[in-house]
């Protein structure tokens, strides 16, 4: 008990004093996961919308693929991204393995199917005649897509949250492709793993509190969004 209590006190001290190392790790985490989420939004919303609005042979297979991708194990992603970025790998020439860029890439691969899957579901939940109504209002194809995405904005916000929540708390891929290099590619999760291993529970607890706080914020916003009334 003593250990936990002391850990908590130290953690609060680190947080209140804005310890530069902890702060740096937090900001890098936010930057890396934020960028990865942005990339996944771009890819996921366009893919999800396209799959939702078109009919093509093999569509069911693609949908099941996307749904499987929503639960992609981060270590598997980490492994393959590592192989691809390895010095002799197909993208070795980029020389980005063990950089924040590599973490962004891996996290984008993890988040994209999540965003795609939620977008697909959100688009399919819109009234089927809404597309016709929008076209009948005189919309071009682009205007129609934009209005549909705007109508699905609440579930799409959920996609943002789910994608971001998934990658900020992910550790396997980040440690494999980022290398947990101090002051360079060390993020909240990889740092927590390391500090725990070293027995520095206070720092680990401080990092965990930040992670928990972020996770709470995400879930709070998600709940708020889901509780809103839907239009008829």
């Amino acid at each position: 008990m003593e250990l936990i209590l002391q850990g908590f006190l130290k953690a609060i001290e680190l947080l209140v004093s804005l310890d530069p190392e902890v702060l740096g790790i937090t900001l890098l985490s936010l930057r890396v996961s934020g960028t990865a989420t942005l990339i996944s939004l771009f890819l996921g919303i366009s893919t999800g919308t396209a799959v939702a609005l078109t009919r093509f042979p093999g569509r069911k297979f693609v949908v099941s693929l996307i749904n499987t991708g929503m639960g992609l194990p981060p270590v598997v992603v980490g492994l393959f991204v590592t192989i691809f970025l390895w010095r002799n790998g197909p993208f070795g020439f980029l020389e980005i393995l063990y950089t924040p860029m590599a973490i962004i890439l891996a996290q984008a691969v993890i988040a994209t199917p999540i965003v795609t899957g939620i977008t697909l579901a959100a688009m399919q939940n819109l009234p089927p005649n809404l597309r016709l109504q929008i076209l009948a209002l005189g919309a071009t194809r682009m205007q129609m897509l934009w209005l549909l995405i705007r109508e699905a904005r609440l579930p799409l916000l959920a996609a943002v949250m789910a994608g971001f929540g998934g990658v900020i708390s992910e550790v396997g891929a980040s440690i494999m492709v980022g290398g947990n290099i101090k002051g360079y590619s060390r993020v909240l999760t990889t740092a927590t793993v390391m500090e725990t291993g070293r027995g520095n529970f206070d720092t680990a607890i401080a990092l965990s509190i930040i992670l928990l706080f972020l996770a709470y914020m995400i879930n709070y916003l998600l709940t708020r969004i889901q509780q809103r009334e839907r239009p008829r």
Partner: protein, 366 residues
């Protein structure tokens, strides 16, 4: 009045779904002004035709010509869609305020904010819902939502307004209110309208022309009066509510376009000029059959007066439906008051009368 040129023409309209032809109409015209109703039972293709005419459904074959110009590419399609409006059964509003919803068609057309707000406010006023302007569209009742949807359609001042079963999801008072509003707004705004409906009463009350659809084809087009009172075949007759259908032959030709028909062992006088011996179908609208309990001697010489036994009495909307057997089957609608004052009962014998002009006679197709 001069013959008005068609505003929209459809040529050889064919729609196939999964290899089955669901619509096959060689020639279809919408004239400027007035309301055309597309009526028919479920699956007759009225909604398909409406969506086809509003360019929202891909044709398997055929062309649409709007104001003399063929709609044949993406640009002309968009131009056309920007001149029309469609109201669906569901209001399909956007998740924003009522005012924004009504202005949305104008926003899509790039009308600036001040102008579109002004127009939207005008049509909210005309639809009787200015107080809802700032309300969220998610928080409207069914009737308010459909009014908003109709205001949105009118706000773009369409050349043709398409209505696809616009009242089907509404309760009776709301339904009534909307019909009277449309009856006022359509002529006021000089809007040409096309409405698909399964309800012949809605069609009668709103439209001057009616097209009856049957299995993807137009069975009959004409003025509302023509279609309702002179159906071209048995299908149309039964759909427009001519419940009594009798088969017979022409027995005798009288002067003044009158003829005597043999129906069973009875004779009916009707208007028409078919040759003697011709097989015919006669339709009698139940509201045109008058019942009385007078003594058999009176009126007995009058034409088209038959005594018959009441087989069944059942409530039918605002009326009571009385099924008679007069040697042939005849149906009459009477009010509750008449039913009570005559004291009608099943099994009783009464007199039934209808005018020669109340019967519609067509040649029996072999």
């Amino acid at each position: 009045m001069t013959m008005s040129a068609p505003i929209l023409q459809g040529k050889r309209l064919v729609v196939k779904r999964g290899g089955i032809t669901v619509l096959d109409i060689p020639d279809f015209e919408i004239k400027k002004g007035g309301v055309l109703s597309l009526i028919g039972p479920n699956g007759s293709g009225k909604s398909t035709l409406l969506l086809t005419l509003s360019c929202l459904l891909k044709l398997s074959r055929g062309t649409l010509i709007f104001n003399g110009r063929e709609i044949n590419n993406r640009q002309s399609e968009l131009d056309y869609r920007r001149k029309i409006a469609v109201v669906f059964q569901d209001p399909l509003l956007f998740d924003t305020t009522v005012l924004e919803n009504v202005a949305s068609g104008l926003k899509i057309r790039g009308v600036d904010k001040r102008e579109r707000t002004r127009i939207a406010e005008e049509y909210l006023e005309r639809m009787g819902i200015p107080h809802l302007a700032k309300r969220s569209a998610c928080k409207l009742s069914g009737g308010e939502a459909q009014r908003t949807s109709i205001a949105r359609a009118f706000a773009i001042r369409p050349a043709i307004l398409f209505l696809d079963e616009p009242f089907s999801a509404l309760d009776p008072p709301t339904h009534e209110g909307l019909i009277s509003d449309l009856n006022r707004l359509l002529p006021e705004t000089d809007t040409t309208a096309v409405m698909a409906t399964h309800d012949q009463m809605d069609a009668l009350r709103l439209s001057d022309r009616i097209a009856v659809l049957q299995q993807g084809k137009v069975a009959q087009t004409g003025s509302a009066d023509m279609v309702m009172n002179h159906p071209i075949n048995e299908f149309v007759a039964s759909f427009v509510g001519m419940d009594t259908v009798l088969t017979g032959t022409v027995r005798e030709i009288l002067e003044g376009d009158r003829m005597i028909l043999a129906v069973g062992k009875r004779e009916i006088e009707a208007v028409g000029d078919l040759p003697k011996g011709e097989g015919v179908l006669c339709f009698v609208r139940p509201e045109n059959v008058i019942l009385s309990t007078d003594s058999p001697e009176e009126h007995s010489s009058a034409r088209n007066t038959f005594s018959g036994r009441i087989v069944r009495i059942a409530p039918h909307g605002l009326f009571y439906r009385v099924d008679l057997n007069c040697g042939f089957d005849l149906i009459s609608y009477i009010t509750r008051t008449s039913l009570d004052s005559m004291g009608l009962r099943e099994g009783q014998t009464v007199k039934a009368f209808f005018k020669a002009t109340a019967i519609h006679v067509i040649k029996k197709s072999s």
